[in-house]
Amino acid sequence: MGNIRTGLKNASRRKFLQQLALWGGGSVLAGGAIASALHYEHKKKGVPHIKEIAEHTHQLKVNKEALSELQRRGREGIPGKRWIWVIDLAKCKNAQRCMSACQQAHHLRPEQSHMNVLVMQASEHTPAYYMPKPCQHCDNPPCVSVCPVDATFKRQDGVVLIDNQRCIGCRFCIAACPYNARMFNWIEPLYAKEDANMEYNVELNLPQRKGTITKCLMSADRLREGKLPYCVSACPNGVYWFGDENEDVVTNGTTHETMRLSELLEKNGAYQLMPELGTKPRVYYLPPKGRSVPVKEEDKEKAIEYVHHFES
């Protein structure tokens, strides 16, 4: 009897010690994991998204504080503003100055441009016209919804930007964008060597990086300085109106004429591209009515070819 009792007693003590070790070890492990996670989160918050890039032979030393500042303010945007863009198709003569200004500003290859002047034609007996098409900077951007790493984002002033230091090159956003506004740097960017030492500016997306997305930035760096976007000021034909929706005013990039946004949209029967998708674009178009310059014959042929292609 006594033997049994001691046996039982021993057994319960062993069990108790076993359980103690299990629980104690478990809680130490769990506590450690939580502590290190908190530590990591804290560190991440203090100096956001920084990488020191060692490239080939030279170590790139980046000014940590300045870089984080550029990325921080690039993410926040300009308070109290809601940028709005109006493109007057009646004025476009396919001068393509917007495209070259854009390429120059963002160090793009000749075949790349955040702004494209397209030749459009709806059906066989409707006229062809030129249509400049930038990113629509949607208020409900599908590209941002699908980004798995928070590399592309929308700011409080409406601009949709890309942070190529975070981009992993998955190209989900290209697939998601109904306006075909994004492109991928498949090969080394044009000025890869020259720009290597440049501090990354998210509002200019410079330096461009191979294996990441590049897109229209609404010239966010210029907006900060109170200047109109590169493409808008480069246009010789008065196609672009740009302004702040909160002020209800837009300014023409060519003539610098300023007028009421609501009036301009109302009087000219403005429309948006594919509003049925619910993307809520920040770009408005004025119909190509009363054009002074006809579409070139070769462009007309190109347009009708597409019409036939889609009709067949």
């Binding site: 945007g77 308070p79 109290g80 503003k81 809601r82 003569k93 001068a95 100055r97 208020d139 409900n140 951007p141 599908p142 941002v144 919804s145 928070d150 984002f153 929308k154 700011r155 409080q156 002033d157 409406g158 109170g226 200047k227 109109l228 010789p236 034909n237 008065g238 740009f242 302004g243 702040d244 909160n246 002020e247 209800d248 005013v249 300014t251 060519t254 003539t255 610098h256 004429e257 300023t258 007028m259 009421r260 002074s292 310059v293 070139k296």
Partner: protein
């Protein structure tokens, strides 16, 4: 027969084209504007600045003067500005055309200052060997300009702006008539003109109708600019703040919970359903572990 007919058609259309082109060239410049001369001497510095502006704002259609690279597909054809037709015109006429524009040619009234427009004229004149600059227009006496007083009154109920202009005339500061007054609202990229340009009456007054629906800041304040231009007294500009706008506070566009927003601002249904799914899984995991424990304990109990 057909060939002749075709030739006729060609001849006719050529004549028609000439007629259209000829009509397009008649660009009447008011006599007083035509007589205007530059108040600045056309020196090398002026020419150089003019060249920069020209390259930026004019060359895309007109091409560089004397090189014949103007865009001929446009109607009317923007002339090469070194041409005789252009150079025969007075400085005042060229200045006027740059200022107001016509048809496809934009007005540079708002994008270039008067001095910049004269710089462009200076650049264009450098392509004319025979050009001799006429006597300079005199710049306005600064003492006279300083005597000009602008006294605005803002009627926030009727949405009217009344501006009284006074200036020192002969012996005393008196209301100034015949002064051109324009009103603007300051905006981020440029100034919005309000109403039209008005000329002061005998009692030196002008009245502007202010729109009732123009957004102001959070309390409805707008920054106003009054520009005054008088032949004798020159140009001046004053800035004021008035409560003439509609109070506007628009939240940032990233305020709403949405799919595309940051993690914290994800849609509520998404947060709730996510937490529900995670919670349910944990609930069942814990239940399974507890059940296993119960089975084990039950198995050990010799009584059962």
């Amino acid at each position: 027969m057909r060939i002749i007919e075709r030739k006729r058609v060609i001849l006719f259309s050529t004549l028609l084209l000439f007629a259209i082109a000829g009509r397009a060239e008649e660009w009447q410049v008011p006599a007083d504007k035509e007589k205007r001369t530059s108040p600045y001497l056309f020196d090398e510095q002026m020419r150089k600045k003019g060249e920069d502006i020209f390259k930026r704002s004019c060359a895309s259609c007109h091409g560089m003067p004397g090189q014949g690279n103007n865009i001929r597909s446009l109607v009317p054809i923007p002339p090469d500005l070194a041409e005789k037709k252009v150079q025969q015109q007075s400085d005042g006429a060229i200045f006027y055309k740059i200022t107001v524009g016509r048809g496809a040619m934009p007005s540079f009234k708002n994008s270039l200052t008067e001095q910049e427009r004269w710089q462009v004229v200076a650049f264009l004149r450098s392509f004319n060997k025979d050009y001799v600059q006429p006597p300079l227009a005199r710049l306005v006496d600064s003492a006279k300009l300083r005597s000009v007083k602008v006294i605005p009154t803002f009627d926030t109920v009727q949405h009217k702006v009344v501006v009284l202009i006074k200036a020192f005339q002969k012996t005393d500061t008196l209301p100034l008539s015949e002064a051109e007054v324009s009103l603007f609202v300051q905006r981020y990229f440029g100034n919005l003109p309000i109403d039209s340009v008005r000329t002061t009456s005998q009692n030196g007054l002008v009245t502007f109708n202010f729109p009732t629906n123009l957004p102001g800041d959070s309390v409805g304040n707008v920054q106003l600019i009054v520009k005054v231009n008088h032949e004798m007294f020159g140009e001046l500009e004053k800035t004021y703040t008035a409560k003439l706008g509609v109070p506007t506070i628009k939240p940032p566009l990233t305020e709403k919970n949405a799919m595309w927003n940051v993690g914290k601002k994800a849609p509520r249904w998404l947060i709730i359903s996510y937490l529900l799914v995670v919670g349910t899984i944990w609930f069942f995991l814990i239940r399974i572990i507890l059940s296993i424990r119960k089975i084990k304990q039950t198995g050990k109990n010799p009584k059962l």
